[in-house]
C-alpha cells in the first residue's frame, strides 16, 4: 500500500524552509511577458515581489533568510518584510502551492 499523503496543515514560521512541490510550476510566459504559478486547475499571477520570494523558496533557505535578502533589496524594515512573507506563504500553503 502507498504511504498516506500529507494530512496536516503546513504552518509557515520564520524558521520554515519553504519550497514548491514538484507539481507546482513557477514559469515565465514570454508571450504575456510575466510569470505564472501553474497548479492543478489553477493559474496564479504573482506580482514581481511575489515572484522574487517564490524564486527563493528552494527548500534550503529559511523564511528568515529570505526576508533578510528582501529587506536589503527593497530597503524595508526586516520585521515588516518577514510578516508579509509569512502571510503570503501561509496563504499559498493553504492553497497547496507551497510546502515547508
Amino acid at each position: 500500500m502507498a504511504a498516506p499523503a500529507q494530512r496536516t496543515r503546513t504552518i509557515i514560521e520564520a524558521s520554515s524552509k519553504p519550497h514548491l512541490p514538484a507539481h507546482i510550476k513557477l514559469r515565465h510566459d514570454a508571450g504575456r511577458g510575466r510569470w505564472h504559478v501553474l497548479a492543478p486547475e489553477r493559474v496564479f499571477e504573482p506580482d514581481p515581489i511575489a515572484v522574487e520570494i517564490l524564486k527563493h523558496c528552494d527548500g534550503d533557505k529559511t523564511v528568515q533568510a529570505i526576508a533578510e535578502i528582501m529587506a536589503v533589496e527593497y530597503n524595508a524594515p526586516l520585521a515588516d518584510i518577514t510578516a508579509d512573507i509569512i502571510s503570503m506563504l501561509q496563504e499559498l500553503a493553504d492553497k497547496g502551492v507551497v510546502r515547508a
Binding site: 496536516t8 501553474l38 492543478p40 496564479f44 504573482p46 511575489a50
Partner: protein, 389 residues
C-alpha cells in the same frame, strides 16, 4: 470538470497584466473521445455522441498540443468520455508536456492501469482528476451503470499516492448523493487528494434530459453549502474546496466559462473547436475544425467565438446591467435551452422574465417523492425509451 479555471492573483500589483484580458485562452479542454465505460445520466457530452471512427488521429492531437503552446495556452485538460480508452494517450501527453503545457488528466479511473499511470507520470503528466459517483458502492453502481467502479477508483488513488502525484476528487452532486456529502469529503481526505470539486450538476445535455431525476431540493442545497463551509474550515491547508452551486437556486448567473471566448476553448473528439462543451446546442454558430484551420485563427476569428464574445451582442436586461462584465449574461446554452433564444439573459438571473419559471421547475421536480428513472448516457441512448429500472 470545473466549469472554468479561475486565475488568482498573488498579492497586489498595479503593473501586473490581467491574465483574463490577455488574448490567448488560459485553458483548453480536450475531449479525446466520447467513449466511456460509465453511463452517468448527467454526462456533459452532447446527446449525439461522436463515434470512434470519427476521432482525431494521434498526429492531429499532437499538432494541436504544439499549436496550443504557441498560442499561449497554459493548461490542458485531457478529458472525454474517458480519455484513457485511447491507446495513444501517452503519445499525446508526451508532446503536451514537452511543449510546456500543464497537463491534467480527467478520468473516471476504472480503465487506467498502474503501469500506464506510471508511464504517464514519467512522460510529464502533472495532475490527475478522478471523478466519483458516490462513496456508497450500490449507489455508485446505480448512477454509473458500472459494477465495482468504486473499488477501482480506490486502487487508482493508491497508485496516485504511490507515485506522489497530485489528486483532485471531482464529485458531481445531485439528489441521489447529496445526503452523502460528508462521506464524500472524508473519502477525498482518505484518498490523499489535495483538492475536491463539490460540483452540483449543471443542467445541460444528459443532465438536462435527466433533470427531474437529479435536481436536489433547495433545503438540500443549503445544507450542503453549510457542510462545505464547515469542512473547509476544518480541513484548511489539507483539502482545497471548489464548490459549484446549482444555478437554479441562484439569484445571479455564473460567468459561464469565465466569459464566452475569453479564457477557455474546447475541442471535440472529431476536432470541432467550441467556446464551451455545450455550445453545439446553440443554433446559428459555425464551428471550425482543427483539421481545416490553425487553432490561433479559430480562437481569434472563428464565427462561434466572435458571436458572443464580450458584451456587444447583449440586449436588455444585460446590456445596461452593472454586472454585464462580471457574469457576461450567464450561459448562452442555458438561455437557449430554457427560453429558446441564446441572446436572452440566463434564466438563472433574477432579472430574467423567465427566472420564476426556472426556479419553479427546480422546486417542483425536486419536490416529487419518487423521481423518474434515468435515461443513461450511451450511444443513441437519448432516443431510446427509458431503460432503467
Amino acid at each position: 470538470m470545473n466549469e472554468i479555471m479561475p486565475t488568482e492573483k498573488i498579492a497586489e500589483s498595479s503593473e501586473a497584466a490581467d491574465l483574463s484580458c490577455a488574448r490567448a485562452p488560459v485553458g483548453m479542454l480536450c475531449e479525446l473521445t466520447h467513449r466511456c465505460p460509465l453511463q452517468c445520466p448527467y454526462c456533459s457530452n452532447p446527446l449525439e455522441l461522436d463515434r470512434v471512427n470519427s476521432e482525431l488521429s494521434t498526429e492531429v492531437w499532437q499538432d494541436v498540443m504544439r499549436q496550443a503552446a504557441d498560442l499561449g495556452i497554459l493548461q490542458i485538460h485531457l478529458s472525454g468520455g474517458e480519455p484513457t480508452v485511447r491507446k495513444d494517450l501517452e503519445e499525446i501527453v508526451e508532446v503536451a508536456a514537452k511543449v510546456g503545457l500543464y497537463t491534467n488528466l480527467i478520468t473516471a479511473g476504472v480503465t487506467l492501469t498502474r503501469d500506464r499511470l506510471k508511464r504517464l507520470k514519467e512522460l510529464g503528466l502533472d495532475h490527475v482528476q478522478l471523478s466519483i459517483q458516490d462513496v456508497d458502492d450500490a449507489n455508485a453502481e446505480k448512477i454509473s451503470a458500472y459494477k465495482n467502479g468504486l473499488q477501482k477508483k480506490r486502487e487508482l488513488g493508491a497508485w496516485v499516492r504511490e507515485f506522489d502525484m497530485p489528486l483532485t476528487i471531482n464529485a458531481p452532486i445531485h439528489r441521489l448523493n447529496i445526503e452523502n456529502l460528508p462521506n464524500i469529503i472524508d473519502f477525498a481526505v482518505e484518498m490523499g487528494a489535495g483538492r475536491i470539486e463539490v460540483a452540483n450538476i449543471q443542467y445541460y445535455a444528459w443532465a438536462l434530459k435527466n433533470r427531474a431525476a437529479l435536481m436536489p431540493t433547495r433545503a438540500q442545497v443549503m445544507k450542503s453549502a453549510e457542510i462545505v463551509e464547515e469542512a473547509k474550515a476544518r480541513l484548511k491547508g489539507i483539502l482545497v474546496f471548489d464548490f459549484v452551486v446549482p444555478d437554479y437556486y441562484a439569484k445571479t448567473p455564473k460567468p459561464c466559462m469565465g466569459g464566452w471566448g475569453k479564457g477557455i476553448m474546447n475541442i471535440t473528439p472529431q476536432g470541432r473547436v467550441l467556446p464551451c462543451h455545450a455550445a453545439e446546442s446553440v443554433p446559428g454558430l459555425e464551428f471550425d475544425n482543427v483539421k481545416d484551420k490553425r487553432l490561433a485563427d479559430i480562437w481569434l476569428n472563428g464565427q462561434a467565438f466572435q458571436k458572443y464574445r464580450g458584451t456587444s451582442w447583449m440586449k436588455e436586461p444585460c446590456k445596461s446591467c452593472p454586472r454585464a462584465e462580471i457574469d457576461f449574461g450567464g450561459c448562452r446554452c442555458q438561455a437557449m435551452a430554457f427560453t429558446g433564444d441564446p441572446t436572452n439573459t440566463d434564466p438563472a438571473c433574477k432579472f430574467s422574465p423567465h427566472h420564476a419559471a426556472f426556479v419553479a421547475a427546480a422546486e417542483s421536480e425536486s419536490g416529487v417523492q419518487t423521481p423518474p428513472p434515468f435515461v443513461y448516457r450511451r450511444l443513441g441512448g437519448a432516443k431510446e425509451k427509458v431503460t432503467a429500472e
